[in-house]
Symmetry: C2
Subunit: 233 residues, 2 copies
């Protein structure tokens, strides 16, 4: 039986030696079967990691296009034939706020060994650098896009923070960062804290925590750079 | 002004090149000021990372012993004097299920730049390899030790999973792993899934997800090895 390796890749434009251990290169260089979010990104990553990587001798299964039962069985067949398989998403950690968990779940169900490699997670790095509660926290993913669901969810989150002190983590599509930021300022109590983690591990990285009251006094230039938001007390 | 670096260290007995990028070694080798959970562990890590590390020329502030206002001000003075400071815990990621967040919070409040390095987080790696919901999850830390609080909390968690589908992550003191495992089997519905992530990144790593029903049919040998537990549907 092969193993399923969970292969994190770089976030942003960070050089690989900034964010990936040497062991990942050794491990991934030996793989010839991959389940990927997008083939183009996966190929670019493999070439960046190892200029000699035999991409044309490798097999790529693309999650974006197919994710049905027969697709999963094809991957399972590779593993059962003894081939190790690497799982990669477009950025950062697969299966965390990214596709891939169905494949992992299928492997777990079928008794395939799953081995996670170390790599960058903007969610975890944002939380650790925010100074907020690392003993209890919730990752909420994306807020609902429209009202009344969005405002309701924001109110629930603020209530939960007051009740539990758990930090609440969110991500957003980059072009909507300004909007979610303004919503936090609108719905958060003045003394709650908000951390904006901008371009984590990248050349423009800024991870800044301020009270809602202090954020209301200024502006933050978001451009269209990926951000993680942490709200807490 | 100096910067505060969040310095993850190895978990378990894993070699450093398994879990830390080269960039960490370059960055940490240049530091001479550290805030650490335990000085002994910090020294061992620095020597393992770099046999030539000038430990005797370095200053260590120990979190376990002092964490009051004047201790925080001493660290802030180092940073204000232009010295970069590294924050380390005993294992894995500082400030996540580990001490350190108060120091980070103080730095954020004082406008000190906080830079998280990449490293192993057993919580994140367990979740990604569990195959459970990576789009929404809660890290709950430790369960209350005694009933009725413990049973009540377990019932709440099961209700939350059914309602939200968020994966629920827990850790436990190693000698109590058997107890928490039995409690999950007792309180979980038969079709919920439980992942046991044992010795993550270590030589005995096993990350196994099964339904509660299937776990009830067998045993798991815990010894006294650190584990992460993920419960979900």
């Amino acid at each position: 039986m092969g193993k399923l390796y969970i292969v994190p890749i770089n976030i942003s434009e960070s050089p690989l030696e900034r964010v990936l251990p040497d062991f990942n290169k050794q491990t991934v260089s030996a793989l010839r079967f991959f389940v990927v979010e997008k083939i183009k990104t996966a190929r670019q990553f493999l070439r960046k990691m190892d200029r000699e990587f035999p991409i044309d001798d490798s097999v790529f299964y693309e999650l974006d296009k197919h994710n049905d039962y027969s697709f999963q069985m094809e991957i399972l067949d590779e593993l059962k034939a003894g081939n190790d398989v690497g799982l990669m998403s477009e950025s950062g950690y697969p299966a965390i706020a990214d596709p891939g968990s169905q494949i992992v779940s299928m492997c777990q169900y079928s008794g395939i060994e799953v081995v996670p490699l170390v790599g960058p997670s903007s969610i975890l790095m944002a939380l650790s650098a925010s100074g907020m509660n690392g003993n209890g926290f919730t990752f909420n993913g994306y807020l609902p896009k429209k009202d009344p669901e969005r405002s309701k969810e924001l109110k629930n989150v603020v209530t939960t923070i007051v009740k539990t002190s758990f930090a609440q983590i969110f991500i957003e599509t980059p072009y909507r960062n300004e909007t979610i930021f303004e919503d936090f300022l609108k719905h958060g109590h003045a003394d709650l804290k908000l951390c904006v983690a901008y371009d984590v591990t990248g050349p423009e990285e800024k991870i800044i925590t301020k009270s809602i009251e202090d954020w209301r006094k200024g502006k933050f230039q978001f451009d269209k750079t990926p951000c993680v938001f942490v709200l807490g007390n």
